[in-house]
């Protein structure tokens, strides 16, 4: 897909999203005008803003048809194949990081994410990979759980129990 087509699709996508927002406000029975004795209705602000979004999307589409925007004349690929691979793999890796956080917990998930990114994508040696794989989760644990008392997702009971051992180890050192 080239930049020209991408701008057209984005313009239509944004127009549909704007109309969808207006429909959501309307179907939720929110007043978009004045409520007697109360003031502007709860739907007034989002509805008229969405209408403005729709208007600006139409404006962009008109400019596209007239060939005014540089993107509407650009026949280069929107994302070149190298970038699709690099960005696709990165986004998929972050997707897995988030998905596995609910299963094996954020700490083990980030270790897998770092293993994949540093060893497989970055092609670094084992010393660097292991250093980063252990160093980053330990730093996150110290900063967020020890200093900020913010508990991060620990996943299913089995993995949660593993992290409890880490907590026990920490308490044995600190108290």
């Amino acid at each position: 897909m080239n930049v020209r087509t991408a701008e057209l699709l984005m313009g239509f996508g944004m127009l549909l999203a704007s109309l969808g927002l207006m429909w959501t406000v309307y179907s939720d029975d929110l007043t978009i005008g004045w409520v007697q004795g109360v003031g502007p209705g709860a739907g007034m602000w989002p509805f008229w803003l969405s209408l403005g979004m729709a208007g600006s999307s139409v404006w962009t589409l008109v400019r596209w048809f007239k060939g005014v925007t540089p993107e509407s004349r650009n026949e280069d690929p929107y994302i070149d194949p190298d970038t699709i691979f690099m960005v696709g793999v990165t986004v998929a890796a972050i997707f897995c990081l988030l998905l596995f956080s609910s299963i094996i917990g954020l700490y083990f998930s980030m270790m897998l994410f770092l293993l994949f990114y540093v060893k497989v994508l970055g092609r670094h040696g084992w010393p660097v990979t292991i250093g980063v794989m252990i160093g980053v989760p330990v730093a996150v644990y110290m900063l967020f759980e020890v200093a900020l008392n913010k508990y991060l997702p620990r996943g299913l009971p089995f993995f949660e129990n593993l992290m409890l051992h880490v907590d026990d180890f920490r308490y044995s050192l600190m108290y």
Binding site: P40, W59, M86, V87, S101, M110, F113, V118
Partner: protein, 505 residues
């Protein structure tokens, strides 16, 4: 005047408290490294590290983030000079002469000039800030909801009029940010609004930090991955004590340029939407125009490094002026700072000076200290920067992705928001590729609740009469200014087209 000096003295004393001094030191250090990293700038650093600041009191937190903002402005020059890649957009103009100087083996001279010019910019701007902030805040105390709404309108109008981006796309970006801010329960009626797919998680609204980290953390790193392909080539830098002293003696070559850049930077920085990048480019352009040796610009003229560096530092201070006095951020970074202040229970704006003088003057005092600390750290740590910049992107990128995820989760305690962050980051990246500006959306999601509140308060107070905005002189003046700014690019493009048609005829 006496009271300003007294308050400033108290602020300086506060910034010397051990915790605050530590925050300044850490903030400057973190900022220098973040600014030096290609693809990362002050806005990314502040967005990613904002959740970490909940560990300390609000004054120390804002001191840390302001120092980080400051440090990042200094640090941006390091990668511009040694790698030829701007650490952030604010350091783009530094590449023009910094890179040729590095190619000629004068990287140390360029780095020193950048540090000293940044110090000059920081010093002049913080003095101007101290002089302008109290009277502006005192004047703003007269503002009611009508004036507040008019000011918000002005902030959005500046993005349209001065942003330099595609107008309908800028308007779209502002409006989508404002719509995102309405998700959740209505502040007045309590009714749920825009609960997409009936998902309970949307009832709590969309936190500005989710959008900010999505766009400036995830989106920005993907953008950098695409543009650098993960490979970066660094120039060799030779530096030692004797070379530092020699370089210090050359300050007179660019002192005047740096001073001029500082004034330009401060005043351009105070305008929302303008910020440090146009300030640096404008300063570079003027330095080149007024230089006796204009032809040497772009080929390694040290004044070409000093002019943008002084301006981008001064602009970072300038952008805090409208944030603290009027509650309007002057840059995306200050938009995030403003959001942080709301999380800490403070309301930025004129009342802040009256209600929380310790906070405001502690911050102003810390700017003086941070400016000094940063220049010393910057010069002392040049060799360390060079080593850190050699860190492969394939190690840096995953660490930043993890920090983004953990930062969002720690702020909201919901995995849902981390998914939303990934979605918004990808959307921001795809839209940015089509020239949709993303900064207005971040500004809008921060200012959205305040804008809606002031609009509805005004309309309720006037029984629904919109003339209330035009009957008050300050509100009328600000609205007229906003309308002029919105019309400016449209009229300008119409006149240009007419001129082209006339020439063709």
């Amino acid at each position: 005047m006496d009271s300003i000096i007294t308050l400033l003295g108290a602020g300086l004393l506060q910034s010397f408290e051990p915790l605050n001094l530590a925050m300044i030191f850490l903030g400057c250090l973190a900022g220098l490294f973040i600014g030096a990293m290609p693809g990362l700038g002050s806005v990314n650093g502040v967005a990613i590290l904002l959740p970490v600041t909940f560990l300390v009191p609000p004054t120390s937190a804002i001191i840390f983030l302001a120092a980080l903002y400051y440090g990042a402005m200094y640090g941006g020059a390091v990668s511009s000079i040694t790698l030829g890649i701007p650490g952030a957009s604010t350091a783009v103009a530094t590449v023009f002469d910094g890179r040729p100087m590095a190619q000629k083996g004068k990287a140390d001279q360029a780095l020193m000039a950048a540090a000293i010019a940044s110090f000059i910019g920081g010093t002049i701007s913080v003095i101007l800030f101290t002089g302008f902030a109290p009277p502006l805040a005192a004047f703003a105390l007269k503002f009611g909801p009508q004036e507040e709404f008019a000011l918000m309108l002005l902030a959005f109008a500046t993005f349209i009029g001065l942003g330099g981006d595609d107008i309908p796309k800028t308007i779209f970006s502002i409006l989508i940010g404002l719509v995102m801010a309405t998700v959740g329960f209505d502040i007045i009626s309590g009714k749920p609004r825009l609960i997409f797919f009936d998902m309970v998680d949307f009832q709590r609204g969309i936190e500005f930090l989710v959008l900010a980290i999505g766009i400036y953390g995830i989106g920005e790193m993907i953008w950098t991955l695409e543009h650098t392909k993960g490979g970066i080539q660094m120039h060799k830098v030779e530096i030692g004590f004797k070379r530092i002293v020699d370089n210090l003696r050359q300050v007179k070559q660019y002192f005047g340029t740096a001073t001029m850049g500082s004034f330009i930077g401060f005043f351009v920085g105070t305008l929302p939407a303008a910020g440090a990048t146009p300030a640096a480019l404008m300063s570079y352009g003027l330095a080149k125009t007024f230089s006796k040796d204009g032809d040497s610009f772009g080929k390694g003229n040290v004044a070409g490094v000093a002019a943008p560096e002084a301006a981008n530092n001064a602009a970072s201070t300038g952008s805090m002026l409208p944030m603290l006095t009027l509650g309007i951020p002057g840059s995306p970074t200050t938009a995030i700072l403003l959001g942080g202040m709301i999380i800490w229970g403070l309301r930025p704006g004129p009342l802040l000076f009256a209600e929380s003088p310790d906070f405001v003057w502690g911050l102003i005092g810390s700017m003086y200290v941070a400016n000094f600390v940063t220049v010393v750290l910057n010069i002392a740590l040049i060799p360390v920067f060079i080593r850190v910049l050699a860190m492969p992107f394939s190690v840096l990128a995953p660490i930043i992705f993890i920090l983004c995820t953990v930062g969002v989760y720690a702020t909201t305690d919901r995995m849902f928001d981390t998914w939303l962050m990934l979605f918004l980051g990808c959307m921001g990246y795809l839209m940015r590729k089509l020239n949709y500006p993303v900064a207005p959306a971040v500004l809008a999601i921060v200012l959205g609740p305040l804008t809606e509140q002031s609009l509805r308060q005004s309309l309720i107070g006037s029984q629904g009469d919109p003339m209330t905005f035009l009957e008050r002189p300050i509100s009328l003046t600000v609205i007229l200014l906003a309308v002029a700014l919105i019309c400016y690019p449209i009229v300008n493009s119409f006149l240009k087209r007419r001129k082209t048609v006339k020439i063709a005829e």
